[in-house]
Amino acid sequence: MFLAILPVALSAIMAALASDEPQYTKDFTDVIFDGLIIAVLLPIVTMVLATMSFRHELDDRTLSYLVLKPIPRAMIVVPKMLAAVIAGGLLVIISGVVSTVIGPESSIQAVLAVGIALLVGVVTYTAIFTWAGLVSSRALGFALIYVFLWEALVTSLLEGARYLSIRGYVLAIANGIDGERFDSIDDRVIEFPAALILSATLSALFFWLTVRRLNRMDVP
């Protein structure tokens, strides 16, 4: 919750202190939107919620109550992911949208861009981290390494790696929906259609992997 309030509070402070509009917009996008909401809040919130989707039931051995039922495994995975998307999405999207409203060049299009981009990010991360939580009891640790090593470090150093970065997809989608408001990140985002297709593909792939894992794993 503190993490979700932080961008809002910083946006308010920046708005109060801002004078130079173009620089303010660039700083807001770099520091609050990209640096805090997309790089920190989004992955951490979804990571915690999604890796725990099955973990509790695996640890206390109650998962058998679900899998010993005549329901397709996908119908077990969907509500789990939906719950993580709704809980995580509410927190991340509200934080992002409120920060955008407070921030520079606020418009309905900018709010939509942020909301949709963050929703795509929440869904994609949730799909990956739900699978990770089912595969390993140390998923949270691996997820942290992935987020801070791959998403934060590698993709900022290697341009091609942005095609395999959820952070990159979120930025590209926001930029694709409202190019004017997010023009300061033009030079470091991939193509809008590519971001949509890749995030949808990754989400579908990891959803399928999660269902497959639930079908094949030994349930304690």
Partner: protein, 317 residues
């Protein structure tokens, strides 16, 4: 080894549970080793000491885990990746975890909904009534005793009226009265033509309700067949009993004169170790002999009552 031939007429039909050459290993540990067995309608007991591989085998039969090799079919169908089959199967695992925030009734309702039952209320009423938990049904599960929790879990397992029941140590935590009720319930369900596979590590528990047993030792099926035949073999087994008394030599000499004692030794601690094939008679003989001879008894204890030793005996035979 098979102790006695199968004589149940229903065995001529297709087995309800058919396990063929199934093995399961975890890394270098072989938990289940080349097990083949068939289970038919009625009550079958899966018996074995802790660590024998019973739970691993039941998990594979219930579809909770994959066999490393071999094939398992229930009602003629593979059970893995076949969720539809759970309309006809009720599985109860050994672990007693429940959703503690539910009341007993809500827990059974939750299972009924997942089973896709139409008449939920009546099905839940019937299941809870069958395990004698009607009065406590509205209490949260985390306030139940172990035995009550087991009974409510059983109600949740029975709520969709399954044809096949796979129950892993269902009597854990239940008291003698509850055990009798459980046995009556299982007998009733078996008479209705259901197939019930119950695991236990307690011979007497299985003996009281199963006509047929499957005996597992060290991951292998050591014996299968009619429980009376297996029991007869067990009764022929010599037991060791250790006796501590204030005059061991006199007592040992007197014990050797009885019919039930095969041999008597006195160990360095002056404890008498008696080998007998009739422990129940020996239990009566020792106190009366001691009283007649004016000897004080300090302790009488079996040395090899463990299930492992019983199973070892059966297997070695």
């Amino acid at each position: 080894m098979t102790i006695s031939p199968e004589r149940n007429p229903s065995f001529e039909s297709e087995p309800v549970i058919d396990v063929r050459n199934v093995s399961k290993w975890f890394g270098n540990l072989v938990a289940v080793n080349e097990v083949s067995l068939q289970v038919y309608p009625g009550i079958t007991g899966l018996l074995g000491p802790n660590g024998a591989g019973k739970t691993t085998l039941l998990h594979m039969i219930a579809g909770l885990s994959n066999a490393s090799t071999g094939e398992i079919r229930l009602l003629g169908e593979p059970v893995r990746s076949n969720p539809g089959i759970y309309h006809q199967i009720g599985g109860m695992s050994e672990h007693e975890s429940v959703y503690g925030f539910y009341t007993g009734r809500q827990f059974v309702e939750f299972n009924a909904r997942l089973q896709g039952i139409n008449q939920i209320e009546s099905a839940v009423d019937r299941a809870i009534q069958s395990v004698g938990m009607t009065e406590a049904q509205d209490r949260p599960l985390n306030t139940y005793s172990r035995g009550m929790s087991q009974r409510m879990r059983l109600a949740a397992t029975l709520v969709h009226d399954p044809q096949v029941l796979i129950l892993d140590e269902p009597l854990n935590g239940t008291d003698p009265h509850q055990r009798i009720e459980f046995q009556n319930l299982m007998n009733r369900l078996a008479e209705e033509g259901r197939t019930i596979l119950i695991s236990s590590h307690i011979l007497e528990e299985v003996e009281a309700q199963a006509e047929r047993i499957l005996l597992m030792v060290n991951g292998k099926l050591a014996a299968s067949g009619n429980i009376r035949a297996i029991r007869e073999k067990l009764d022929q087994r010599p037991y060791k009993v250790r006796i501590l008394a204030d005059n061991p030599r006199s007592l040992a000499s007197a014990l050797l004169q009885t019919d039930v004692v095969e041999s008597v030794t006195i160990d360095p601690d002056d404890a008498i170790v008696v080998l007998s094939r009739n422990v129940s008679v020996l239990q009566q003989s020792v106190p009366s002999l001691a009283r007649d001879l004016g000897i004080r008894l300090f302790r009488v204890e079996p040395l090899d009552e463990s299930l492992e030793s019983v199973f070892s005996y059966v297997v070695e035979r």
